[in-house]
Assembly symmetry: C2
Homo-oligomer: 334 residues x 2
């Protein structure tokens, strides 16, 4: 459901590696690969439950099932296929970096400290002794770049950058991937962005912007085009939480939340029945834009640390200057 480059890239890379080992693989995702991710090498190998059925393939044809970047079947198949999958007789493995309390799967490798499932799959493929091809490298680089906001988020560790470097050595092209992920906006998307920026208001540390269906129509865009909009207002020093309301239908909004530092917006999303990571979460809320906004702002006001400065860089202002040398030079002049 709503797959991103981490889920898709991991699926493709692991599938490509397993095929190199002579395994047969089948890539399944509840939704089709979004157009924005149709640059991922091999993306055409992904199937939805519908195309799977149309091929006469059923869950009984599989011996093993690996869930990547997600940890429950609800994100893999819809209601129509759920019963079949619930009765799957083979071994189920879950490889994921999303925090969860679920216990689904015979083999569970879940590391919430990992920036991306892509880091885990890179390590796995290396441990399987498979040479990383340029296609695998591009898929894993896209996975890691997406989930670290292209190395901007708190989760950007030395390991993340080292893995990215190895993937470039293996053939991934950072500029090409970043361009595909972030810099191929249509003119319409750009116009939509201008419109959304115009709705933006900041309420004591929380930025709220709205995308209506009318805006999408006017600019000839779809909801997919709003993908990265929610991150943008974080660019402001005094914005700790950024919220984007996307109108699904009248009085029904898909809500994306992003935060800085220690502020956990997953808790807010969970309150409304959604979920996610501490710094990136989502939920759906019913009501008018005004009502939804004020409900969300009320939850935000309960957050600690909203008024605390986000960043205390040791080098800024409060830092004493280092040992100075001009006195030395002055002395040597005398």
């Amino acid at each position: 459901m709503d797959p991103d480059a981490d889920g898709l890239g991991c699926g493709l890379a692991l599938s490509q590696a397993l095929r190199k080992m002579g395994k047969r693989t089948f890539l399944l995702d509840k939704d089709p690969v979004p157009p924005g991710y149709q640059f991922l090498p091999g993306h055409g190998d992904f199937h939805t439950p519908e195309t799977m059925r149309s091929l006469g393939i059923g869950v009984g044809d599989f011996q093993n099932m690996i869930l990547l970047d997600c940890n429950h079947l609800g994100r893999v198949v819809g209601a129509a296929d759920r019963a079949d999958f619930d009765h799957f007789q083979g071994t189920v493995a879950v490889i994921d970096h999303h925090e969860t309390e679920k216990t689904f799967g015979h083999v569970r490798w879940v590391e919430p400290d990992m920036a991306a499932t892509g880091i885990m799959i890179y390590a796995l493929i290396r441990n399987l002794g498979v040479r990383i091809t340029a296609d695998m490298a591009a898929n894993l680089y896209a996975a890691i770049a997406l989930d670290t906001g292209n190395f901007r988020f708190e989760n950007t560790t030395a390991e993340v950058l080292r893995t990215a470097a190895s993937l470039v050595t293996a053939g991934a092209r950072p500029h090409a991937i970043i361009t595909e992920l972030y810099e191929l906006w249509s003119r319409g998307r750009f116009m939509l962005f201008r419109e959304v920026l115009n709705t933006l208001e900041v309420h004591s540390g929380v930025a709220v912007a709205v995308v209506t269906r009318a805006m999408l129509e006017k600019t000839g865009t779809t909801s997919d085009d709003t993908e990265t909009f929610v991150s943008f207002p974080r660019i402001m020093r005094d914005v700790k939480v950024s919220i984007l309301l996307k109108e699904v239908e009248e009085n029904h909004f898909r809500v994306s939340l992003r935060s800085k530092g220690a502020i956990n917006v997953a808790r807010i999303a969970e309150f409304f029945g959604g979920g996610g990571h501490a710094n990136a979460a989502g939920c759906r809320v019913r009501g008018s834009a005004e009502a939804v906004t004020s409900e969300l702002l009320a939850r935000c006001r309960e957050l600690k640390d909203l008024e605390k400065p986000v960043l205390e860089f040791a080098g800024r202002d409060n830092r004493a200057p280092g040992p100075s040398v001009e006195e030395d030079l002055g002395a040597s002049q005398n």
Copy 2:
């Protein structure tokens, strides 16, 4: 002149390394460290020619001079001090990654293929046998992050990412640095950005936007606040060149140019007496905004490749799907 994080970060890191070796150093820059870079550890050690003079220090007090991230004295001192510096009796070294035909300096280490002078200084400090401290690491990480557009530009190589990883191991904090470099916009800067976006027009592959002094006044901002604006329109698929006109005084504009791929905007900047890199250049042009825009657009129309698709990612559309497995599975069913 107009120092950026690559120049400043390299100066600070190399100075810090040389001091560890017992050398005495003096950091000189024509302009003061801009507020946006006053997080760089040790930035308070930088002097301008004015503060240098006020300390009674002259160029005769130095034995060696190292120019970093620039290759002529015009960027280091103004007219008032130029004669003194031209008669400097010591050894002059130039360490830079900017393409140039100049031959200034006894020791010249100029590598236009390097993404940032920061990569070179990292290698130099390692070769000097000095342990990279957290301060040096932060300075060099900022240098590299800035000149690669935080790992977005074509110059993002495996070496760039490996160096970044090593700097994180040495204590650089990517999220903190990126926040300082890119995500501490004031409310005024955000308002200015909205205004500038509203002036944006796209003419067959070239985006042009304007910042007037009136806009700066209205939003309580300065020219420094426009720093990254010129890169933003590149986000559009059909924008190959992005140009930002910054009004210096009536009928006088500082012009920033950015391009994608093989399109060389340094040639355009040079035509108007400016310079820079292939993908990032600048110049000053006199005339009304309309006249300057049409002069620039005329030069842009002479560029080759402006109509060529910027990117041909092997994975997108034209790529044949990889070996498919559903037939195998189908066969095993029969």
